[in-house]
Symmetry: C2
Subunit: 145 residues, 2 copies
DNA sequence: GTTTCATTTGAACAGCTGTGCAAGTGAATG
DNA sequence: CATTCACTTGCACAGCTGTTCAAATGAAAC
């Protein structure tokens, strides 16, 4: 089981190869290590409640009980959510008196959220289109370099 | 259950409020609609196999059997993965002869992947630190506006 | 040192999710 | 129109995930 196709003729020849389809792009690091971590990050962001929590923290730092009160959730539930987010390095933690104050870890997190929110706001991305005519291109608000 | 805290004094007073913690940021749209969709997108990206598939498509379009061969997976498995990704508008689909050719939907997807990959590459984000001294800030490579 | 209080953790439950086989679909090809 | 071939879908299984209660932790306040 090849992890990556070595040569074009090495396939069970499905009849098409990357070269046949145009739309060349610069390759992504698929080293597995970073990709694994990235997927864990995405998974953490992929729960509505957790994403809402992060969106809440966009407004500023907050302690656990404050979030629980604001979102109408159990404190332990919020704590668990924050634990997941913290395991992926998405939120920071800091003690302030009796409270523990959480905040977004860094600008990357903010970018991630906004980027997805933008994508989600695009009307074309709402439902699965049967016929997508071609690769539609946005003006790139946001470049990774 | 308040979806959003209405007034500072409306809380069961956890003893701290957003104003108490500094680190103000501009708020995110928490309308629920876009956020729900964004979380679905993240969830789709949050499976290593699916993310690897997208990373593969970064190199160019490909048909199902080609991906299956390259990744060493069952064709039906790959098809299912692509279905999930397509449901979230992350990949495009196009028929070419007998094959159906998939590709990344748009630049947003590329940005999303690279952004997460960058975040994942940061050494600090690898493991959960017990003591995060404060909010660590990056130079912002990437701003949403 | 003891108390207090915010937060965390353990454990169990229900619900969701990915995979792979086999069967179905549908477009192209003859 | 029949056949072929690429892909999709139905289904069942196993494994993972979020929520919650109750109990534990641990830093601060006294």
């Amino acid at each position: 089981m090849p992890d990556r196709l070595t040569s074009p003729t090495d396939l069970a020849d499905p009849g098409c190869r990357p070269e046949d389809h145009g739309a060349r792009r610069e390759p992504v690091d698929v080293s597995g290590e970073a990709l694994e971590r990235a997927s864990r990050i995405f998974r953490a962001l992929g729960e509505p409640s957790r994403l809402r929590l992060l969106a809440f923290l966009t407004r500023g730092e907050a302690c656990v009980s404050e979030v629980a009160e604001a979102e109408g959730d159990e404190i332990s539930t919020v704590s668990q959510r924050l634990r997941v987010l913290r395991n992926e390095g998405l939120v920071s933690r800091r003690r302030q008196g009796k409270h523990i104050v959480y905040g977004l870890a860094d600008q990357h997190v903010v970018d991630l959220i906004f980027n997805a929110l933008e994508h989600a706001s695009e009307p074309r991305n709402a439902a699965p289109r049967e016929k997508t005519k071609g690769v539609t291109a946005y003006a790139s608000h946001n470049s990774h370099r």
